[in-house]
Amino acid sequence: MNNKIKKILPQIITVLFVLGIFGFFTFNAQINMDNRGIDFGFGFLTQESSFDVQFSLIEYSGSHSYARAYLVGLLNTLLVSFISIIFCTILGVIFGVARLSSNYLIRNSAAWYVEFFRNIPLLLQIFFWYYAALRALPVPEKAGPWFGVTYMTIKGYYIPSFIWTNLDIFLYSILAVIVSIIIISTYAKKLQENEGKQTPVFFISLGLIFVLPALTFFIGGVSLDFGIPVLKQLSKTSYVFEGGIGLPPELIALVLALSLYTSTFVAECVRAGIQGIGKGQKEAAASVGLTPNQILKLVVMPQALRIIIPPTTNQYLNLTKNSSLAAAIAYPDLVLVFAGTALMQTGKAIEIVSITMLTYLSISLAIAAIMNWYNKKIEIKEK
């Protein structure tokens, strides 16, 4: 009995202590807010926001509610994180593998790249891309076309917009491709296990991806038009592009900075993963007659991924949280739109900051959950 108390008592005290601290701050905030006549509540979320946002994935204007403004900010945060995660992964894998290259030049350039971009503070890199690099771009009327129809200007990168007819049929065809690839790869695996036959799944999939959607253009009545950006004069000396999609320079600068910075960490994870596989594994694989490609695909990578995934998850989480630095360069992310403008216009500091914190927490937990699921999938299955 005595022993049991000894075990439980410290835990109870700790819990009470933590509760006490929370209680104290909550009460204190309550009292201070009462004294200053500030109400606590989330009613403001349904009020009209009455401010506009520069860039939004969903339809939004000041006549929508604060809740909608929150959604705009959230989607912008997710957009910049999603694009940057893809870029940083591609770059990270390339540079991680390059650091292990036997070619002196490739190996050392990769090392320089990693050391350079990971040792400069991220905020500085964001400022560099936004204030130095993108400011060197021409004004709209002086921008020459890139690839014929896109224009890189100080006001943003203008690309043609897509005008679809029968988009739904096209999307169904993509869905069909995905389903058939899954079926084929499952079947191929069975064939490999039962009869030892290898199927070129990759090339079949590649073919399907191109052929099926292309077919819908000929027989499904799908067609695609492009809205080409056209220069429009605003005044004697200022111009703007109209008709295409304008990617704001703030988004471009942020994606550049986030993906270059984070890719260095991903590269190190990749290098660590590959180097973590013993030389004996490769030699053993070679001795049973596997080709170098097969060694990489069947022996090294499956084991390396197990080392690579957990630290890379951390980098993805960091990237997502770092995207909140967007506020420094006017990219309308969650922090700028919701914890910035909305907070100022409503004065609901406690409510808005807690919603924002909870949101980032949820995004991070969701990413962690996906990566954990993937990690589970590739980990050693003891039979």
Binding site: G37, F51, S235
Partner: protein
Amino acid sequence: MFNIIKKLTSFVAMVAVLFAFTTEAMAKKSKTLKNTQKKGFVRCGVSQGLPGFSNADASGNWTGVDVDVCRAVAAAVLGDANKVKFTPLSAKERFTALTSGEIDILSRNTTWTLSRDADIGLTFVGVNFYDGQGFMVRKNSGITSVNQFKNGISACTNIGTTTELNMRDFFNSRGISYEPVAFEKADEVVAAYDAGRCDTYTTDKSGLAAQRTKMKNPDEHIVLPETISKEPLGPVVRQGDAVWEDIVRWSLNTMIEAEEYGITSSNADSMKTSDNPAIKRLVGAEGELGAAFGLDNDWSLRIIKQVGNYGESYKRNIADPGILPDRGPNQLWTKGGILYVPPAR
């Protein structure tokens, strides 16, 4: 189990004691004044650098009409206009800094609006600058009026300001589609506009005039004549300390009334023997005006002697540096402006 209940009871008791302690402390009269006198300096929130209003020079000396309001309060309650600690704040941070008690006066070209006054635990004490929102464009654009604005125009501004809301009202009512580019710091807005990111820069006209002086080539930019909103700018205090509120309000009023009666920093002492009782009250030679705030009778004299009257402050900070030489509405009501303060008596 019994043990846990006992612990919980003592926890509740502890919280109750804390609760009682805090409310009791809050109920005392002008805690802010007492704290300020104990600390020996006035805690004042200002902008991150707006020439004419609140701007720090290379050696860290703050000047400007907004700064002078805080200096006036310091002169009144501490006897020395230099005993002010300035905290530069972005538009986004300012109200939180005030309500959380980090500063005691917010004097940072802040627009007085109903929702700010009523909703967020703030009290506006007066107006020290009557302003309105305007637009700045490049001179070579050929634009001379807001009527020439076209669809697709991009406008740089600050986040967390009334500017953002007025801008929307303005463009919406005219049916013009626009791209708002909102930065957190004024310097970032100016840099972006200057580099050509935006076609126009919009904020209070005084701010436009002040920021223009910071640009690479000020002559290349003009402020359009139209004013699209009312922007009465003034100092703000936390809600809930009526005495402190009065001190700040009447420190500002003293400066304006001193100008009305022709009392300046150089002639204030000699005004003690004036025949006009209103002047004598202002320089502390008659009446007991300071007692109402818990201050001595020379509080207003110190303001006038150390900071000067409103006209001196305007001339020193805004007119002489060439920001807005014309006082416009910020002229005394006796001279065709709208500066009119209740009498100090």
